[in-house]
């Protein structure tokens, strides 16, 4: 793993290492303190118990030589230093007088001892010139402080113990730090590897390699990020493919009419066609192809405006049945020509808030398709009824139908069931795509059902007032 200045890896690794170090140091200090405190407290407690047991031998009156000797003997056997003090001077008995003497027992301590309480001392004691933990047990005869039993342990002994303990602790701590830092290094590497992979992948994508994918190793946030990245690059790849297809489609769609126009116009210009009726036919062909190009360009413009969100609907309220009625009239001659039976069933109460011209465009697209793919003698049914969604506009034909595998793609731009890209059936290949988008702009839904050879049913659902 390489260190990059300011890299996430470095930051993470430093954070982990610093946390480990701080934790170890803190726990070391705490345990050292607790250990010493517990140990000192334990010593103090045992000294107190020892002193209290010894004090039981005192039966009152001035301290006897026997008691002093017994305690002297005990001192030889005990681990702690034990002695009796019965000098009133040492016990601060002369306190009200200004005696220039450092006594063993201070004024407050004397008061405590007089109250029958043992006194504990911790720290430096000038008399012994060392740090000690000491317990002073009073020997009281009524109110008289006849003496004390002084027990102490040098603190150096405790420090020695804590020294051994801290050495062990430090060694253990150092070993732990090395292991923990190594493991932290490994762990940080594992954590940051997917991020580094993703960075590389993003670089590849930015250079145009949309097929780049990241290996997903975990299910955590980083794993989810990798998954999202893969999804994103897949979408970009698909979009790129669509764009290329679209460009190929557009150029293909434009090339055919241009070739026609070029060919016919050249034929006319060369004077090769002499007959006026032939010339007229060729001119009509040129005009037809030019119109097709105009339509194609208009459809492409519509689509791009809808996609760019610049398409504005001019909505107002109108009775939908009336619009359909008026609109369908212009198809009557065509249908009669094709001997198609046209049946309508329209609910006149349906009032819609929409852009009339766009609704007409929608109707035109689906009607054109129905007439185009319905054979002579077929039937086209148009109905408008109330629906829980709002209203349902249903157009049923007895045309050739759409294969089930093409149904889901039928509204894609330039998608053709007839893959030969024949324009013999007319249309730009953008009609249904535009229709679906216009329906959505009106807050509606477009559904197409079809059975091959039987016919197609186009359902348009609109919200109404």
């Amino acid at each position: 793993m390489k260190f990059v200045p300011g890299s996430l890896f470095k930051k993470l690794w430093l954070t982990i290492t610093a946390s480990i170090l701080i934790t170890i140091l803190y726990s070391f200090l705490l345990s050292y303190l607790f250990y010493e405190k517990l140990y000192v407290d334990q010593e103090e407690k045992s000294l107190l118990e020892e002193g209290n047991r010894l004090a039981l031998d005192y039966k009152g009156g001035p301290l006897s030589d026997k008691l002093k000797k017994d305690i002297e003997w005990y001192n030889g056997k005990s681990e702690s230093e034990v002695f009796v003090v019965n000098s009133p001077r040492e016990l601060s008995a002369c306190l009200p007088f200004d005696i220039n003497y450092e006594t063993l027992v201070g004024p407050e301590e004397r008061d405590k001892l007089l109250a029958g309480e043992a006194v504990t001392k911790k720290g430096y004691e000038e008399r012994f010139d060392r740090k000690i933990v000491a317990v002073l047990v009073p020997l009281l005869d009524g109110d008289r402080l006849e003496g004390i039993i002084y027990l102490y342990v040098p603190l150096a002994r405790i420090s020695e113990l804590t020294h051994d303990f801290s050495l062990l602790w430090l060694m253990g701590g150092a070993a732990f730090i090395i292991i923990a830092v190594y493991l932290g290094f490994k762990m940080t590497g594992r954590l940051t590897k997917p991020l580094i992979d993703m960075k590389r992948a993003a670089e590849n994508v930015s250079q145009g390699d949309y097929s780049t994918r990241v290996e997903i190793q975990s299910n955590d946030e980083v794993g989810q990020l990798a998954s999202a990245f893969n999804h994103m690059s897949r979408s970009i790849e698909e979009e790129d493919e669509r764009k290329r297809d679209f460009l190929a489609d557009v150029s293909h769609e434009l090339r055919t009419p241009i070739s026609y126009i070029k060919g016919y116009s050249e034929a006319l210009a060369s004077g090769f066609i002499k007959k006026a009726s032939e010339q007229d036919k060729y001119l009509k062909l040129i005009n037809r192809e030019a119109s097709r190009m105009v339509q194609l360009v208009a459809d492409l413009l519509d689509l791009s405006r809808i996609d760019a969100g610049q398409y504005r609907l001019e909505k107002h309220l109108f009775p939908l049945a009336q619009l359909i009625e008026d609109f369908s009239q212009k198809y009557v001659p065509t249908m009669e020509e094709k001997q198609i039976t046209f049946q309508t069933s329209l609910d006149p109460d349906i009032i819609m808030n929409g852009d009339e011209a766009r609704i007409e465009q929608i109707l035109q697209n689906i009607m054109d398709n129905a007439i185009r793919y319905t054979d002579n003698g077929g039937v086209i049914r148009l109905s408008l009824s109330k629906h829980p969604y709002g209203c349902l506009l249903e157009l049923t034909d007895t045309g050739i139908g759409i294969p089930p595998e093409d149904l889901s793609s039928i509204t894609r731009r330039f998608y053709r069931v007839n893959k030969a890209r024949s324009r013999s059936d007319g249309g730009t290949g953008l009609g249904l795509s535009i229709t679906e988008k216009l329906v959505r702009l009106h807050g509606g839904r477009l559904e197409i059902e079809s059975v091959m050879g039987k016919g197609t049913k186009v359902k348009v659902l609109f919200p109404v007032l």
Binding site: P62, S87, P88, R89, E90, A93, C94, P96, F97, D98, I99, N100, Y101, L114, G142, D143, R144, L145
Partner: protein
């Protein structure tokens, strides 16, 4: 209107209560009344010996360590080493009536037998200060040693100032404010009594450093010579005398010794806890137990304890009225 009256009455009673709480209990003084200066809780306890009773406690809240009852039989003069002033209290009224500016360092005071003057030993200025009973300084004598214990000869023509720190005893002519002579004595001397019959001054003490004083040192008044030592362990620091004999109190062993004028022991008694003061009051001995916070009344003839009376914390000095 009623609540207002209640409020006024309440406020007045609180104020009045507050004022009276500052006051001290009045004490009807008689020669059988003694006061103890309790230095641990800064109080004064009054005991009527005849009633064997503590009759009043005063929380004076000032570090007084000694007192004198003035000849008027009502004024209690209290002084302390760390205080610049000595304060006067009327026992009858139970209130402070005035102060004398006597300066810091006063460790002992003595009303002279003529009843006209008071002497203070000042161990900061190494002086003996003379004051009239009205509080006017009438003289000052500089000494070569810090005085602590003060004694007056029977005739009143000599004052004895025993030094605690400087191992010296000064003999003073109070009339002339003059130091007659001084002679060296033992270290950490405290407490003394005159045995004029033998021309002796008996001086007690604490002992120097870690040494515990075991004896009374007997010096010849004229020559200053150490005549003998009387064994009275441990740390004899206070004396009193009466018709029954000389009484020595050793605080280290909490023992009261009864001696005759030749130093022979005629009995001893373990008494109190760490007692510092013994005083003859009428025909009884009063002993103050510094650690046991009590006063013992002892029959001087047979050294029997007749009563034990609780006082404030740390009774250090017994104050009694004039003869």
């Amino acid at each position: 209107m009623k609540p207002l009256i209640t409020l006024v009455v309440f406020v007045f009673s609180v104020l009045a209560g507050g004022c009276s709480s500052d006051g001290l209990a009045p004490v009807a003084y008689s020669p059988s009344v003694i006061a103890t200066m309790n230095i641990k809780d800064m109080s004064v306890s009054f005991i009527d010996i005849s009633k064997r009773k503590n009759i009043a406690e005063w929380d004076v809240e000032k570090p007084y360590n000694g007192g004198i009852i003035l000849p008027d039989g009502d004024t209690l003069l209290l002084y302390g080493k760390t205080l610049k002033e000595a304060d006067l209290y009327s026992m009858k009224k139970g209130e402070k009536t005035g102060s004398w500016k006597i300066g810091k360092g006063v460790v002992n005071g003595l009303l002279l037998s003529d009843g006209k003057e008071i002497v203070f030993s000042n161990d900061e200025g190494n002086t003996i200060d003379f004051y009239s009973t009205k509080g006017k300084q009438t003289g000052q004598l500089h000494l070569n040693a810090a005085p602590l214990t003060l004694l007056e000869s029977g005739k009143g023509d000599r004052l004895f100032a025993v030094s605690f720190h400087d191992e010296k005893l000064n003999i003073i002519n109070p009339e002339e404010r003059k130091n007659i002579r001084s002679f060296p004595i033992h270290a950490s001397a405290a407490g003394a009594v005159l045995n004029e019959k033998n021309n002796e001054v008996w001086v007690g003490g604490h002992g120097k450093g870690s040494n515990i004083e075991q004896s009374i040192h007997v010096y010849d008044i004229e020559t200053g010579k150490l005549k003998k030592q009387i064994h009275a362990p441990e740390m004899p620091v206070n004396f009193t005398k009466n018709g029954s004999g000389l009484f020595v109190l050793s605080h280290g062993s909490s023992t009261l010794y009864k001696l005759d004028t030749n130093g022979a022991e005629h009995g001893s008694l373990r008494i109190g806890a760490n007692p510092f003061e013994v005083e003859t009051v009428g025909n009884i001995l009063a002993v103050a137990g510094y650690d046991s916070d009590d006063i013992y009344l002892v029959d001087p003839e047979n050294l029997k304890i007749e009563a034990r009376i609780k006082v404030g914390k740390g009774p250090f000095q017994i104050v009694k009225g004039g003869k």
